[in-house]
Amino acid sequence: MITVDIGQALSAFWRGSFGSEYAIVSATLVRATPLIFTGLAVAIAFRAGVLNIGAEGQFLAGAAAATVCAGIAASWPRAAQSAIGLPLALIGGTVAGAAWSGVAAWLRRRFGVLEVISTIMLNYVALEAVAYLVRGPLQEPLHIYPQTPTLPRGLHLPTLVPGSRLHVGFALAVVAATLAWWMMRETASGFRLRVTGANPYAAASAGRIDVPAVTTRAFLVSGAFAGLAGAVEVTGVTYALYDNISPGYGYTAIAVALLANLNPLAVIASGVFFGGLEAGAAAMQRDAGVPSVMVSVVEAVIILAILAAGAARIRWPPLGVRWPGRRRVSGGAPA
């Protein structure tokens, strides 16, 4: 057993997350960026009644597509890389994320496949596809490491705060969240999305809303945000595609969205909170030997606490319901 000094662990956590301006800007906010995008993806889907557990796969699809687009632009002159290549990579990632979620959306609309299972399956397919790409067609030219060649500087997202690791992607995430919040609150399509999620039957009968169309659209927008998260991560942080490019951002996103009560604006704060949690946990593993996977335990506990609070608010269930014993029920077994 490895013994851990709790004080040392907590101080490492604080230093790595919110303890200094450098930690906040270069660790916490950098970690928060993909979490805000993916949290937004989950929040929008859940609000529409779409249980998209596939932000992880959509993130990977976006990261892979952005890498491909950037790879094409890598041979262009520097000015063209920044002016055309970078936007192309971000758009490519967004489209790929939407397409990846589109598979699950189509399966749901055409065949009625539960998106919970299909999106999770697509996560694993994306994982294997990335594993293949970085060892096959996209591998760096020396064919030693399972990763793509590092992007040239012209294809890096500009930094937001000089001298830090924080890139423009964070500002993009904040703008996207604000825009989504405004759309959801003030526009007709946002209203249709909320009503559909709240009660699809009422939406269809009383509101004459085309429910399948609304849910499909929400699914695609959700995937687009997750895909953009992947594209921003590649162009802003990693500058290359490799196996473990996402430490489970798509799953953490569920905790981010739920803590934000599925409100896009609150996702920003929630994303920063979880970004700090992950940055702190990374520091804790580095400096105090505490496994950083503990973060997913914390995330799980937060989700469960939110659920418990919600359940308690509705009604504390009566306990001690009778057990049926061996009494015969009249009539045969239902078909």
Binding site: M1, I2, L51, I53, V103, L107, R110, F111, G112, V113, L114, V116, I117, S118, I120, M121, L122, Y124, V125, E128, A129, A131, Y132, R135, G136, Y251, I254, A255, L258, G289, P291, V293, M294, V295, S296, V297, V298, E299, A300, V301, I303, L304, L307, A308, G310, A311, A312, I314, P317, V321, R322, W323, P324, R326, R327, R328, V329, A333, P334
Partner: protein, 310 residues
Amino acid sequence: MTGGAATVTAFLEATVRTATPLLFAGLGETVVEQAGVINVGLEGVVIAGAFGGLVGATTAGLGTGFVVAAVSGAAMAAVFGLFAAILRADQVISGTAVTLLGLGLTGALYRWGFGPSGAALSIPTMHAMPIPVLSRVPLLGPALFDQPPIAYLAYGLVPLLWWWTYRTYGGLALRAVGENPDAARAAGIAVRRVQFGAVLVGGVLGGVSGGTLVLAQVGTFAEGMSAGRGFIAIAIVALGRWNPVGAAAGAVIFGAASALQFLFQAMGWRAPYQLFLAVPYVLTLVALAVASAAGRGGAPAALGRSAIGD
């Protein structure tokens, strides 16, 4: 034995080996879903069983390993059951949380207890126990009847569970809860207790599934080694039309899909192995589309409904 027959036997053996853990988890989830609950936390249950199996086996041998695996799975499932069946929280979100909990907890405990790498750790696995006569049947014999005893337990569970579900009062109560909880309650069935009990049974079998993986197949633990088996088991249940015999058929289909790589390797057909690893997941999607297109026939009518009166 000719080369061709050896290849077929190896393919069938690999099919059964891959199918065994899926069968345990799938049978358990069948019971859970027959009670109208869908446990997306099954992935967390399976990994908890795998880790519990490792801990039990390193402390007190294989038998204890399986017991600890079952208990760990049940404990993880109890967390889900508390939220989904007792508190009536959203089943999918509770399940997702339990999956995160299982993967995180086992990963952290493993690094904590066995060091950051733990690579050297390996435990002797359960030996194959060939069944006399049957294991000598050409082609099928070695695949089906030269397996570790835990596989035979899985085979035996299929008819047993079918009989229990369709021929006993308990099975009827279980299905009544899944079909129409209000009517079941009116008939004097304690809906929450039945659902919680079903979730626990699913937890025990899910835990044994993880235990089988570690104790009868791999012989060690790795973070996230359940690798989506819990999710695939959920797909198997849908594919098997919510019936234990159907679940068995589904498990075999997925075992065969995973075993295809051995067949292709033997045929000298070279392809990136990641493509083979993706086959079961893609197949799940196709199978779900086919199963769902055929309608919800066989699905418990109240499946996944969180807010049911009782």
